[in-house]
Every structure is written in C-alpha cells, then in structure tokens.
C-alpha cells in the first residue's frame, strides 16, 4: 500500500513534468520565431521544456512510451500531418495565384483598371522598371491599396515593371539612400543589369488623390528622362546650379535631375564672344539672375534660339547696381516687350497687407494665383503659396504682338505697391508709398508668353531668391519653378493625359422625407418583422404539436 502511493506520486511528478515541459517548449518555439534569435529567456524556456520531458520519460516511462508510440499519438500525428500537408498545398496555391496577379475589376467606372492613356505610356516601356515603396507596418493597409495599382502596371508591362516594398523602420539606411521623407513614399527607377536599383534614374512618385495619374506621370517622366536638357546661364554672376550654399541652386538642380531632366551650366557671354549660339539641344534656357544686363550680341543669340522654338525662363530680381540685368529701359527688356509683351519694371513690390508678408513687407506671399494656367495649376494661396523676397513688378501687355499669347500667373494684393525709389531702398532700406511716383497694386510678379508661330515660350519671374537653396522648400516655390520648366520644355505634354476620375461622380441621393420614411418602414420594420413572425409561427406550431 505504501509502495503504491509512492508510485503514484512519481507518476504525477512525471505528468507535471510533461505538462510544464510541453508548455515551456511551445512558448520557447513561439518566442524563437518572434524574436528570430536565441535570447536568455528563450534558452531558459527551451531548457525547462526539454528537462520537463526528460523528467516525464524517466519517472513515468510507460506513459511516455505509450504517448510516443500509442494509438492516439499515431492517429493524431497522422491527422496533424495531413492537415499540414493540405495547408501547405493551400498556401502554395495562394502564393502562386498572388504571383499570377489575376484581378477582376467589377466597378462600373473601371476604377481599378488602367486607362488607355496609361496603356499608351506603358507600351513605351522597354527596360525593367522597379517600383520601390517604403511602408512601415503601420502603413500596411495603404500598401495593400497601392499594391492594387502597382500590380496592374506589372501585368500591363508583362513583368517589365516590378514591385518592391521596404520597411523604412527596418532599413533606415536604404530609406536614406532613396531619400524617404515619410511613410508611403514611392519611387520608380530603371534596374541595372545586376537587378539593383539604378539610382541615377531614381524618381519620386508624387502622391495625390489619383494613384494612376501619379504613377503614370512618373513612368512617363522616367521614359522621357535624358531627352530634355536644360541649360543654366552662369555668366555675369548668375546664380549657380552647383552652389550648395543658401544662395545656390543645387537643391532645385538635384530635383530636376531627380525628375529626369539633364541640367548643364553654360556661359552665354563666352559663347557669344566665341561667335557661336545657344546649343540646339537646349529644351530650355534658364537665366538665373545675372547681375549685368545683356548686350546686343547676347540678345541676338537668345532671339535666334527663341525663333527656333526655344524656351527661356528668366529670373529677374531687384538689383541695385548699375546696368542691372533686365533694367526697365535696357535692350533686353525692350526685346521682351516687343516680342512677347512682357517686361520687368524698376519697381520692388511692397506688400502692406501684413497677412501676405513674412518678416518685412518685402517678403511677399502670392495674393492671387491664376490656377487656370499650366504654371499655377498646382499652386494655391492657402497651402502652397509662393514666397518672394524683394521681388520686381512685371508688366504684361494685354494686347500682345501677333501670334503671341501671354498672361499673368501670380499677383500681389490690392494693398501692395511698387516702390520705384530703388536707390533709397538699396542704400537705406527705406520705402514709402509716394503717390504718383510709386506704382499702385495689384502688381504682377510671374508672367508667361507663348508664340504659336515659332513655338517659343518665355516665363518671366520677378524674383530669383525663391528658388535658392534657402527658400526652395518654402510653400510652392519648388512647384512654381518645376512647373514653369515643365511648361517651357513641353515636358508635360509628353506625359499629360486626362486622368480618370477616381472619386467617381456617383449621383447623389435626392429623395423626399416621405420616401425615406417608407424605406425605413420596409427595411427596419417590415422585413425583420416578417422574419420574426415566421419564427413565431414555427414556435407556435411546435407548441401545438406536443
């Protein structure tokens, strides 16, 4: 009797060992999978687990052997293996189908199918393109929605476009290499022969309400990359696209390259002196505020370039030196007025409306933007206004020369005026509205002109500081510059297409209160009530059946 009780105790210890061991082993494995490595806690759990099972085997050997070789173990192992096998087959099918990207768009507006315009762009894809998306786990759902589109591109290009997703929190170095700013940033690029991302072709995909327009636009830019060359005049103390200081233009230069434009410095003065003209491959010429005005020879070179269908972006600025660039009575200004109906005035815009100026009335925020122009379409006075510092007022001839159309993009407020006393402003930083002498607002600061006969285009901006490294990130400054260039180079035309309406204009519901009440009666009272009555009838019949 005494011996019996000891045996039972031994068995019980063994059983406890089995339970604790099994639990610890399980917890250990889960931890191992979770952490992906052996931490002291997991090691301890695994040790306890194995120890417990060994204890079981030693103290209750028969039970242990029975468990391992027994009927239940046999059947349940079979069942578990069969289930695992089936799960494996199901998972495999799932993965194969996921790779196959079979999607059926059932919406009436074909919202998840790519448009003919996108198809046309994608037909031009001949090299592998990689879509790289950065999504942290928190943005998983965003990623899933985006993926719906990206996979359509993959299918449409027969796999030439591929998708790759990276967790920026896990791979901060990679994210930095791409220049990821926030969760959900997407980039496209060509792939190098070894299958890695070709960073020289890297482009950020902008994110608006229409994924398709964003991505197709990016693809089109990538395809157009390297075909458009933009020259920066760097003669006469112009702003330097390679200068990384606050006054330099390196940021916007890099941004342009990121968008697939080739940029190059170019010395107009030297070129003209050498007797040659502006390179024929220039899609656009940027004149980033040289300090001195152009000579007749230079104007002839520019004229020749424009007449051949060229495009010029002029950044004029208030300068206080002699023979300043684009002075009001200078030859170049006269040339612009005669040929395009645009000119710069020797007046600095002073914004007296405090809400539209930053530190001083000379740091002006755009008061009015003509968003119906290609240049102003992506700007608005609320979220992306443009900030100019000491800007010149412009003049637009409302009856331009024949074949030329022109217009304004940005204007200052009614309360502003144009200070014409530049000397006082430059030397003592004083300004004051002088009736008669100064120009009353509103004043134009950005204007454009388009000659339909020779396909030349000009954009005149009364400020240059806005595009320098110090100010480029402010408001819509960068957008103004790039959109001006896009328009000038006709880059936009290569990629513009009518984007699908993503928020489909489903008709709104207009019904009377009576109709609503009737609907409520049907859906909330009649239908559920009918079901309830049917149930009651069944219950009653059952009661009577007894």
């Amino acid at each position: 009797m005494h011996r019996d009780s000891i045996v039972i105790t031994r068995n019980q210890i063994g059983q406890w060992g089995a339970f604790i061991g099994g639990g610890a082993l399980l917890a250990g494995f889960v931890g191992l999978l979770w952490q992906g490595g052996l931490t002291p806690l997991i090691a301890a759990l695994l040790t306890v687990g194995i120890g417990g099972l060994v204890l079981w085997a030693l103290l209750a050997p028969q039970e242990f052997i029975g468990f391992v070789t027994g009927r239940q173990a046999r059947y349940s192992t079979m069942a578990v293996f069969a289930t695992l096998l089936l799960t494996g087959i199901v998972s495999l099918t799932y993965i194969v189908l996921q790779r196959a990207v079979l999607t059926l768009d059932m919406t009436e507006g074909r919202r998840f199918s790519i448009s003919a315009e996108t198809q046309a762009v994608l037909r031009r894809v001949t090299r592998p393109i990689r879509i790289t998306g950065f999504y942290s786990p928190a943005a998983l759902r965003l990623r899933e929605v985006d993926d719906q589109f990206f996979r359509l591109y993959e299918v449409a290009t027969n796999g030439l476009m591929t998708r790759n997703y990276i967790d920026p929190e896990q791979n901060p170095a990679v994210a930095q290499a791409f220049g990821v700013v926030e969760d959900g940033n997407v980039f496209i690029s060509y792939l190098k022969d070894d299958g890695t991302v070709d960073f020289s072709s890297l482009m950020r995909v902008s994110r608006t309400s229409s994924q398709e327009r964003d991505l197709t636009g990016a693809v089109a830019r990538l395809l157009a990359a390297g075909t458009l060359k933009v020259y920066f005049d760097n003669s006469r103390g112009a702003l330097d696209p390679f200068d990384t200081s606050q006054q330099g233009l390196s940021a916007i230069n890099n941004g342009m390259r990121e968008n697939g434009l080739i940029t190059a410095g170019f010395n107009l003065l030297d070129t003209v002196n050498a007797g040659s003209g502006i390179p024929a491959d220039a899609a656009a010429l940027v004149l980033p505020r040289p300090t001195l005005d152009y000579t007749e020879a230079e104007i002839r070179a520019i004229d020749a370039y424009l007449k051949s269908g060229g495009a010029v972006l002029i950044l004029a600025d208030a300068l206080f030196n002699q023979n300043a660039f684009l002075r009001q009575d200078g030859a170049f200004n006269q040339y612009l007025w005669d040929n395009y109906g645009l000119r710069a005035l020797d007046a600095v815009v002073v914004e007296t409306d405090a809400a539209l100026s930053v530190q001083t009335p000379l740091d002006i925020i755009s008061a009015a933007i003509f968003t119906n122009t290609d240049l102003g379409a992506r700007l608005n006075t609320g979220e992306t206004p443009v900030l100019f510092s000491v800007a010149r007022a412009l003049d637009v001839n409302d009856s331009p020369p024949s074949n030329v159309s022109n217009g304004r993009v940005i204007m200052s407020s009614e309360a502003s005026y144009g200070e014409t006393n530049l000397q006082a402003l430059g030397e003592t930083n004083t300004y004051r509205y002088d009736e008669g002498a100064d120009l009353p607002g509103p004043l134009t600061t950005v204007a454009w002109a388009d000659n339909s006969a020779n396909r030349s285009r000009v954009v005149l901006i009364g400020d240059a500081d806005f595009v320098t490294n110090g100010l480029i990130a402010v408001g819509g400054n960068g957008i103004l510059f790039t959109d001006a260039l896009t328009w000038l180079t006709r880059f936009g035309e290569a990629i513009s297409f009518s984007p699908q309406a993503f928020v489909t204009g489903l008709p709104m519901i207009f019904v009377s209160v009576e109709t609503l009440d009737f609907i409520a009666f049907i859906t909330v009272i009649l239908v559920p009530g009918f079901v309830l009555l049917a149930g009651l009838a069944v219950w009653l019949r059952r009661q009577r059946a007894s």
Binding site: W34, R71, Q72, Y75, S76, A79, A82, T83, L86, V90, T93, Y94, L97, Q98, A100, L102, T103, L104, D105, M106, T107, E108, G109, R111, F112, Y135, S136, P137, A138, A139, L140, R141, E144, V145, Q148, D167, E169, Q170, T504, L506, P507, M508, I509, F510, V511, L516, I519, A520, I522, T523, V524, V527, P528, V531, L532, A534, G535, L536, V538, R542
Partner: protein, 242 residues
C-alpha cells in the same frame, strides 16, 4: 458521397427553418443591417453617394458574432445527443457528414444575404449605385461568410457544449478579424504582413470591398474553408479512436 452530403444538408437546412432560434438570428441580423442602411441613407441624402459595399462591409464584422451562432449547434449537439455515433455508423463518409452540415449553414447564410439584397434594390430605385461594385462586395462577403462558418464548425466539433463552441469560435474569429490591424501593433513588417495575410478582413477590405476580385483572395477564403473543414473531419474522425 453525394447522397450523404445531400441528406445531411437537407436535414440541416430543414432544421434552420424549423427552429425559432434561427429565425431570431435572422431577425437580429436583418434589424441591424436595416438600421445601418437607414442611418447611412439619411446621412447620404444630398451629401454623398451611397456606398454600395456598406452592408457587406458591416456583415464582415457582424459575422464574427453571427457565424458561431449558426454553427455552434451543428456538431456539438450531435456529440452530446449521441446521434454522432449513429452518423458515424451510417454508410456515409465522415467527410460527407461534415460537408453536408457546412453547406447547410452556408446555404442558410446565403439566403440571409439574398434578403439583404433588398437594400441594393432600394438604392437602385432611388439612385444609380455602382452595381458591379455591390455585386463584387457581395461575392466577397459570401466567401467571407463561408470561411467564418467553417471556422465555427471546427469549434462545434471540438466540444459537446454549444455555448463553449460559440464562445471559442467568436474568440477565434475576433482574433482573425483583428489581425487586419496587425501592422499597427507589430513592429516587424514581415510578421505583420504574414498575420495580415492570414486575417479574414485583410482579404476583403482592400479588394472585394472596393470593387475588385483578386484570385488570391478567392483562394484564401476557399483555402480557409478547405483547411477548416478538413480539420473538422479529422476531429469528427477522432471520435473513432479516442
């Protein structure tokens, strides 16, 4: 095989129609969807277009609680009443028994779904809803419901107690439902993605609910049903050897 499935299916469907509890469940579900529909409609008037996937998307949540109610009885009761022993000695395979029961539940659920189509009819009468989108959402929620019912059936086979079966399957479904949000809790992207891939919602909200059918989502729900029914068959079978 087919005879067994058909006979069990017929009994289960008949059982739903003969039991007041099933009508009560239908009543509760239809009342909730009706209220949902009306509140959305009132909100929509002159404000926005009505969402064609509104009711299916609501059901994706409601099924967490309704699917266990529809399945909790199915095998737990057979096991408790001892009829399982007779079923297992009838000349039909265990698979046929489980399949018949599952199809019975799915059929009843499909009927409920058909009744909710009345909302689409009403919408079509007063505006022009995107019917393709609505049909897509309905296909999705139909498959989704099948998967939740299969999960419910597993737990019904595990225990003799209906309440325990319902509670366990609700917990399991809630977990599967919540894993859609895994990314917001788990820092590891691959793990979060894996968990989201396993979630019931993850294959509905970003595809069927927005109007597209992805082959992998169909495969997911079909796979869940297949695996869950297979497990159920194995558990039923275990009555023979445990």
């Amino acid at each position: 095989m087919l005879r067994g499935v058909g006979t069990v299916f017929g009994r289960e469907v008949g059982q739903y129609f003969a039991s007041p509890a099933a009508y009560l469940i239908a009543f509760a579900l239809l009342l909730l969807t009706g209220l949902m529909f009306n509140s959305d409609l009132t909100f929509s008037v002159t404000q926005k277009a009505a969402d064609p996937a509104l009711i299916p998307s609501f059901l994706s949540f409601a099924m967490v609680f309704f699917a266990p109610l529809l399945t909790m009885r199915m095998l737990a009761e057979e096991s408790r009443e001892g009829t399982l022993e007779l079923l297992l000695t009838a000349p039909v395979s265990d698979t046929a028994v489980v399949l018949g029961k599952f199809l019975g539940a799915w059929f009843y659920y499909s009927l409920l779904l058909l009744v909710t189509l009345i909302y689409q009819v009403i919408l079509a009468a007063i505006t022009q809803p995107d019917l393709g989108h609505a049909i897509c959402a309905y296909i999705g929620i139909w498959l989704y419901g099948g998967a939740t019912l299969a999960v419910g059936l597993v737990f019904s086979s595990l225990t003799e107690n209906q309440i325990v079966a319902a509670f366990l399957s609700m917990s399991a479904l809630l977990l599967l439902w919540l894993s859609d949000l895994a990314g917001e809790i788990i820092a590891n992207l691959d793990l979060a993605r894996l968990i989201r891939q396993l979630s019931l919602q993850g294959h509905y909200t970003t595809s069927f609910a927005v109007g597209i059918v992805r082959a992998e989502d169909v495969a997911f729900y079909a796979g869940i049903m297949a695996v869950m029914l297979f497990i159920t068959v194995r558990i039923v079978e275990s009555h023979r050897w445990r």
